[in-house]
C-alpha cells in the first residue's frame, strides 16, 4: 500500500489504515437493521397499493385482525389527524405535513403502485404476510400519469386536489401537477445567442432509476407505556429520523430515541423514513417491540427512486469553441409528492463551465411514481448528460479535442454561475488536465465499433452541522463519539483527522457512531459532507483535547499553560527542555490527578463549502449484432481536496462511476400502461455485476479546500454525474450515433444502427 502522506507533512492523513469496524464486518458479527432482535418481538409487514393512482374508498382490517397470531393492524387512521394546510419544516423548507404522513400510510388516495396502505404485526413474518392478503381495500381506480411531459399537460389527471404551482416563490392558484417553477438568469442570453457562431439545441430523456442499495429498509420500534419510543433503523441520519418520526406521530422529540444500526448502503435513499413510524404505531398498539423489514419489491416500488427527467438544452459558442450562451429547460419527476432535486439540476447544468449569458427554467412535477429521494449528486447526472454530450458535438463541429473545449470553458475561481454563486478555489480545470495527461487518454484506442468518450461532472457539497466528543482513557487511547452514519469507512476517516492533530496512531482512536441520546445533533450522512464536516468537528475536538492536556502538563510541572507547547508529537516545557511527556505518559498522569479529559468539536459549516468535480475517460466497444456495450477501460478522476484515506476516496470514485455506468446502460423502471412497475427485482432491474466491468482506474486530484483545516472536499457524489455522458460520447465515437435518451439499452443501440444503415446505405457505419 502506498503512503500518500506528503513528504512527512502528515503522519496519519494520506495513509491507508484498516478500518476500525472492519473485523466485525468481515466475520459477520456487525449488527445491521435486520439483525436487531428484542425480547418478545413481533414481526410486521406493510400492504401496498396495487394501483398507480386510486381513491381509497374503504379499508376493512377485521379479517386480518381475526387471524390467529396477528396482534395489530394499523392504517392512516392511527396517525394523528392532519389538516390539509398544516405545514412543517423538516430541514428542506416548508412542506405539507399531509404529504409526509400520507407517504407513510396513505389516507384518501394512493399515488403510486407500492404506496403503503396498512401495517400488520404478528407473531412471525409468515403470519404477517398471510394477514396482508386478508386486508380488504376498496379502491376507485383513477387514470395514472407516469411521465413528466404527460403530467405537465393541461388535461393531465391531477394527483392532488389542492396542489398549485409555486411560481418562483409565489403561490399561484392554478391547480396543476407542476409543484414548482424556478428560474435563474445570468447576463443577456438572447444577445449571447445572437452573437454566437454555433447554436445547437437538443432534447434529452432519462429514465427513473433506483439507488439500489443491497440492504432493504428496516425499522424496529419499542413504544414503552411511559411514552418513550426507541427506534433501531439503518439510516443515513438518526437525528433526521428522530425529527421526522416526532413530526409524523406528533410525539415530543425528547421522547423519541433513534439508534442507528450499521447500514447496508443508502446513496441518499435512506434519508427519508418509511417503516419507522409504522413500527412505532404497531408497538404502541401491541405493547411489544415490532420489527419491519421491507421486501425487495417494496424497496423498488415504495422507496427512492431518482427522478426520470426531460431536459432541453440550447448552447451557443463562438468559433474558438468558447461558450457564449446557454438556455436550459428541465422538468423532473418528483413522484407522488413534490420535492424532486430540480433545484440542484438548475444549479448543476452550467456548473462546470463559464457561461456568461445563461438562463435555466426548472420544473418540479408530481407523477404516479414513488416519491423521489436523493440519489448521489441528485439532479446532476441528468443535466450532465445533456451539456456534456452537446459540448462534444460543438467540439466535433470545430475539430477540437474533447478536453481542449472543456479546458477552454472550464469554471474556475471567480466564475459566476447562473444561480449567481461565485466560485471560490475549485479543481475543475485540474481534473480535466489530469485527464488530458493520463496514460489512458494518451493510449490509442483501435479497432472497429470502439470509441472513447470523456465528460466532467460536479457536486456542490454541503457542510451543515456535526459534532463529536472525545474522551481520553487512562492508557492514552481515545474514545471518539460521533453522530454521522458510517456508510463507507467514514468512522476511520474522521478518526484519522483527530489522530493527525495529536500525532496519535489511528488505532488508538476508537470511533463509534452514537444514537440520538449519546451525542449532539448531526445532520445526515449525505451531500458529501461527512468526512468534511464531521472531520472538521473531530479536528476541533482534538484541538480541545490538546488544550486540556497542556493544562495537565502545566499543573504537573507547576508552570503556566502558556509555557507548555505541543510540538514534534510531545508536550514540553518551553522553559526546560528536559521536561517532556508524550500523549500516553501525560494521559496516565492526568488520569491519576486531574479531572477527566473530554474534548468537543461542534460545527455548522453552511451550504456551499467548495464543491468537487469529477472527470471520466471511457473506452467502449459496441457489439453490432446484440447491441451490447462493453466498457473496455474506465478512468475516474476527482478532486478530493485532500484525500484523508485514499482507499476510501478511490472506493467512492469507483462505486459512483459504476452506478453511473448502470444508469447509462442498464437501469430503468419499466412501467406498463396502468403505471405498474414491471421489473421490481434485481434480476429485471439490472445493476452492474462484476462481470460487466473492468477495473476502474482512479486519479485523485488534490486542490485543497480553503474552508477545511486539511483541505478536504467531500468525494461521495460528483463521481456519478459524468459516466452516462462520457459513455454516450464514447458510443458516438464508436458507431456515429448520438444518444439522447437513457438507458442506452441493446435494443436502442440496434435500432439506432439499423436507422443509420438505412439513412447511409453506402457508408461504413464504424471502423473509421
Amino acid at each position: 500500500m502506498s503512503d500518500n502522506s506528503e513528504n512527512g507533512k502528515y503522519k496519519v492523513i494520506g495513509t491507508r489504515p484498516i478500518r476500525h469496524d472492519g473485523a466485525e464486518k468481515v466475520i459477520g458479527k456487525a449488527i445491521y437493521g435486520a439483525d436487531v432482535r428484542m425480547s418478545g418481538m413481533l414481526y410486521g409487514q406493510v400492504i401496498r397499493s396495487p394501483h398507480a393512482h386510486a381513491r381509497i374508498k374503504s379499508i376493512d382490517t377485521s379479517k386480518a385482525e381475526a387471524l390467529e397470531g396477528v396482534r395489530a393492524v394499523v392504517t392512516s387512521k392511527d396517525l394523528p389527524k392532519t389538516n390539509e394546510d398544516d405545514m412543517i419544516d423538516l430541514g428542506e423548507g416548508m412542506t405539507r405535513l399531509k404529504y409526509i404522513r400520507d407517504n407513510i400510510l396513505a389516507s384518501d388516495k394512493v399515488l403510486y403502485r407500492g404506496h403503503a396502505v396498512a401495517g400488520v404485526a404478528a407473531i412471525n413474518q409468515q403470519t404477517a404476510e398471510e394477514a396482508l392478503s386478508l386486508i380488504e381495500v376498496e379502491y376507485e381506480v383513477l387514470p395514472a400519469v407516469v411521465n413528466v411531459i404527460d403530467a405537465m399537460k393541461d388535461d393531465a389527471p391531477l394527483l392532488h386536489d389542492t396542489l398549485t404551482t409555486d411560481e418562483m416563490g409565489e403561490q399561484t392558484d392554478k391547480k396543476s401537477n407542476i409543484a414548482a417553477h424556478l428560474q435563474h438568469k445570468l447576463g443577456d442570453p438572447e444577445k449571447g445567442f445572437k452573437e454566437a457562431d454555433i447554436v445547437i439545441e437538443h432534447e434529452f430523456h432519462t429514465a427513473t432509476v433506483h439507488q439500489g442499495y443491497i440492504e432493504p429498509h428496516n425499522g424496529t420500534a419499542i413504544w414503552n407505556p411511559d411514552g418513550q419510543l426507541t427506534i433501531w433503523t439503518s439510516t443515513q441520519g438518526a437525528f433526521v429520523v428522530q425529527k421526522q418520526v416526532a413530526a409524523v406521530l406528533d410525539h415530543p422529540i425528547s421522547k423519541v430515541k433513534v439508534v442507528p444500526t450499521e447500514i447496508g448502503g443508502g446513496f441518499g435513499g435512506k434519508i427519508p423514513i418509511y417503516l419507522e413510524p409504522v413500527a412505532a404505531l404497531l408497538s404502541r398498539k401491541t405493547g411489544h417491540p415490532v420489527k419491519l423489514l421491507m421486501t425487495r419489491a417494496g424497496v423498488f416500488e415504495g422507496t427512492g427512486p431518482t427522478p426520470g427527467s426531460y431536459v432541453r438544452l440550447k448552447l451557443g459558442a463562438d468559433k474558438s469553441g468558447k461558450l457564449v450562451a446557454g438556455d436550459c429547460y428541465l422538468a423532473f419527476e418528483a413522484g407522488g409528492y413534490p420535492g424532486s432535486p430540480m433545484f440542484c439540476g438548475c444549479m448543476c447544468i452550467f456548473a462546470c463551465y463559464e457561461v456568461p449569458n445563461a438562463i435555466v427554467n426548472g420544473y418540479d412535477v408530481v407523477v404516479n411514481k414513488p416519491k423521489s429521494a436523493p440519489y448521489r449528486a441528485p439532479g446532476s447526472t441528468q443535466v450532465a448528460f445533456a451539456i456534456e454530450t452537446m459540448l462534444d458535438e460543438i467540439a466535433e463541429k470545430l475539430g477540437m479535442d474533447s478536453f481542449d473545449i472543456r479546458l477552454l470553458n472550464a469554471a474556475k475561481e471567480g466564475t459566476r454561475r447562473v444561480d449567481d454563486l461565485v466560485y471560490p478555489r475549485i479543481g475543475c480545470v485540474e481534473t480535466m488536465e489530469a485527464g488530458k495527461a493520463s496514460d489512458h487518454y494518451n493510449t490509442p484506442l483501435e479497432g472497429p465499433y470502439r470509441g472513447r468518450g470523456v465528460a466532467t461532472g460536479y457536486w456542490f457539497n454541503i457542510g451543515f452541522k456535526s459534532c463529536v466528543t472525545a474522551s481520553v482513557n487512562e492508557d492514552g487511547t481515545v474514545n471518539l463519539m460521533e453522530g454521522s452514519t458510517d456508510i463507507g469507512g467514514s468512522r476511520t476517516s474522521i478518526a484519522m483527522q483527530f489522530a493527525e492533530v495529536l500525532a496519535l496512531p489511528v488505532e488508538d482512536v476508537n470511533p463509534r457512531v452514537g444514537d440520538t441520546g449519546e451525542i449532539g445533533y448531526n445532520d445526515v450522512t449525505g451531500g458529501s459532507r461527512t468526512t468534511y464536516a464531521t472531520g472538521y468537528a473531530a479536528y476541533n475536538a482534538a484541538q480541545d483535547v490538546k488544550a486540556q492536556m497542556i493544562e495537565i502538563a502545566a499543573r504537573h510541572w507547576e508552570l503556566s499553560a502558556d509555557d507548555v507547547e505541543f510540538t514534534d508529537e510531545v508536550f514540553k516545557s518551553k522553559k526546560d527542555s528536559s521536561k517532556k511527556l508524550n500523549f500516553k505518559e501525560l494521559a496516565k498522569i492526568g488520569s491519576a490527578d486531574d479531572s477527566p479529559v473530554i474534548g468537543k468539536g461542534s460545527v455548522n459549516l453552511g451550504f456551499h463549502i467548495g464543491g468537487s468535480f469529477a472527470t471520466n475517460i471511457v473506452d467502449v466497444e459496441v457489439d453490432p449484432e446484440t447491441g451490447k456495450v462493453t466498457i473496455l477501460r474506465f478512468t475516474a478522476i476527482q478532486d478530493a481536496g485532500k484525500a484523508i484515506h485514499p482507499s476510501y476516496v478511490e472506493g467512492q470514485m469507483q462505486g459512483g462511476s459504476v452506478q453511473g455506468i448502470g444508469w447509462a446502460l442498464n437501469e430503468e423502471y419499466f412501467y406498463n400502461a396502468d403505471g405498474k412497475m414491471e421489473n421490481s427485482t434485481f434480476l429485471d432491474y439490472r445493476i452492474p455485476t462484476a462481470l460487466d466491468l473492468p477495473m476502474i482506474e482512479t486519479i485523485i486530484v488534490e486542490v485543497p479546500n480553503p474552508t477545511h483545516p486539511f483541505g478536504v472536499r467531500g468525494v461521495g457524489e460528483a463521481n456519478i454525474a459524468p459516466p452516462p455522458a462520457a459513455i454516450t460520447n464514447a458510443i458516438y465515437n464508436a458507431i456515429g450515433v448520438r444518444f439522447r435518451e437513457l438507458p442506452m439499452r441493446p435494443d436502442r443501440i440496434i435500432a439506432a444502427l439499423a436507422a443509420k444503415r438505412e439513412s447511409e446505405p453506402l457508408e461504413a457505419v464504424a471502423g473509421s
Binding site: 468481515v26 459477520g28 445491521y32 439483525d35 409468515q126 440492504e215 478511490e650 459504476v658 466491468l693
Partner: protein
C-alpha cells in the same frame, strides 16, 4: 404446522433444529439459529448476500429449504475465521478496503472461498464470472476483485 427435525453440520459443528417445511435455510440461520452473518438483500436469489456453501457447492440460502440440509454440511461467513485469526480473504478485504457498507461482504467472502476451493488460482475473468451472482452497489467491484487475487496468491504460497 408440524415441524421437522433436522440434523446437520454448521461451520464444522453438529447442530439440530426443528423447522417448518416452508422455511428457507436463510430464515432458519438468521431467525432460529441466530447466525445473522448471512444477509437478506432480495430473498429471491438475485443478490447473493445470503451465499453459503452447502456440501462444497455455493448456494443462495434464501433458495434452499432448511429441511434440505439434513445430513449435510453448511459453511457461512461465521465459519471462515479461526481463533488464530482471519481467513486470508477476510484479511485482504480489509487491507484493500473492499467493503464500504459491508452488507454484501459476507456473501462475497463465502462465494470467493467457494471459488478458491474449486480453483485456487483464478484469472481476473474467472473471478468476475464466479462473483457475478453477488451484487455490490458501493465499490464497483474493483477492490473486491483485487482482494480475491491477493488472497489467492497468499493461499497458494502457504499451501
Amino acid at each position: 404446522m408440524n415441524k421437522v427435525h433436522v440434523q446437520s453440520k454448521l461451520n464444522g459443528e453438529n447442530i439440530e433444529f426443528l423447522c417448518e417445511p416452508r422455511q428457507s435455510l436463510l430464515e432458519v440461520l438468521r431467525e432460529d439459529l441466530g447466525f445473522t452473518g448471512s444477509k437478506e438483500g432480495c430473498n429471491d436469489g438475485n443478490c447473493g448476500a445470503c451465499s453459503v456453501i452447502l456440501n462444497g457447492t455455493l448456494v443462495d440460502s434464501c433458495l434452499v429449504l432448511a429441511v434440505e440440509i439434513q445430513g449435510k454440511e453448511i459453511t457461512t461467513v461465521e465459519g471462515l475465521a479461526t481463533p488464530d485469526g482471519l481467513h486470508p480473504l477476510q484479511q485482504k478485504f480489509l487491507e484493500n478496503a473492499s467493503l464500504q457498507c459491508g452488507i454484501c461482504t459476507p456473501g462475497f467472502l463465502v462465494a470467493a472461498k467457494a471459488l478458491l476451493d474449486h480453483n485456487p488460482n483464478p484469472t481476473e475473468h474467472e473471478i468476475r464470472h464466479w462473483l457475478a451472482g453477488n451484487l455490490c452497489r458501493c465499490t464497483g467491484y474493483d477492490k473486491i476483485i483485487r482482494a480475491v487475487q491477493e488472497a489467492s496468491a497468499v493461499m497458494s504460497k502457504s499451501a
